[in-house]
């Protein structure tokens, strides 16, 4: 079973992602950027689902740290974000995210497609 790190501070979003993905993937959940960076480095997942708006160290900062670390640099990272305006997807892909899923999640197929597109 492929392993996904879910970095999300909102407990109901974590609950929803768990309901959608836990039968298909082994999930590890992190609430903060620093916890995620330590965990991902110690126990490398196959893909990271990363909330963009985390308190403290936000998603793009976490992504920068992931890319700067040779151990994690090549990890596919999919942005999970409530920024869903026109142009947001291009903006996040421009920041170095591999994929983009907007919240609220309204289509489980779309989430799965975004994950499967980037899983090694």
């Amino acid at each position: 079973m492929k392993r996904i790190a879910v970095v999300e501070d909102n407990p109901d979003n974590r609950l929803l992602v768990r309901a959608l993905l836990s039968d298909l993937f082994a999930l590890t959940e992190y609430e903060t950027g620093p916890d995620a960076l330590a965990g991902i480095r110690a126990d490398r997942p196959d893909l990271v689902l990363l909330d963009v708006s985390l308190p403290g160290m936000d998603g793009p900062d976490v992504l920068d740290h992931i890319r700067a670390d040779p151990v994690t640099a090549a990890l596919p990272v999919v942005a999970l974000t409530a920024h869903a305006m026109a142009g947001d997807e291009a903006r996040f892909l421009g920041l170095g995210f591999d994929g983009y899923v907007s919240k609220p999640i309204v289509d489980e197929a779309q989430l799965l497609a975004a994950i499967r597109r980037h899983l090694p």
Binding site: D12, L15, L16, A19, L20, A82
Partner: protein, 222 residues
Amino acid sequence: MHTRILIVGRGASRLGPVACPVTWEAWDVRTADPATAVGDLANPKAAAFVGLDLTGEAFPAELAALLAASDRCPRLAFVPPAAPAPVGVPEDDVCPVPPPPGAAIFARLERCRVDERVAWLERVGGAKFVQDLTELVRSEIPKAVGEIAAAAAAGDSAAATRTAHRLRSSASNIGARSVSAVAAIVEAGPPARDLPGLAAEMRAAWDRVAGRVEFHRRRAGA
């Protein structure tokens, strides 16, 4: 491409600065009265609908039908907050503010949004998941609304903005779309003077659907 926001009703022009913070400058905001709004809402080019002022206007049945059929996000605005009680009058004896015309239809639409979302949640996660999620949001949402009201009263715009992001996400997850819409406005950083009114609007929006969320929590746990 501009996302279109249509604000309907008497006093709609006053909503412009509130509904369209500077960060939404690319959005095309216009106003209309309910009579012409029916045609506007039927226009497929109108990609978004976030404003609805029901104070003092009759609410056309055609408009309600269009809203019910669309996936746009209506937002009830300018519900007058209850006047403070005169000194010495017990808080539970304050005269109630009558609901604006059309409010019942609007509230029913909002409850439908919750029902639609819960149906999807139950399909993808089952009854236990619905029970867990509704249990979580019924405590998280009022808590966040209270925090925003406190931040607004203290003039702490930054705290209100931070909490609004979390609230927007939780409200969206349960289909409380008016709560989510107002939270999006707070998150975008409106002038501090608008925050108390937005906080009151947010609380009223939650009050309109909280019972429905509780209904689904009990049903899922039965």
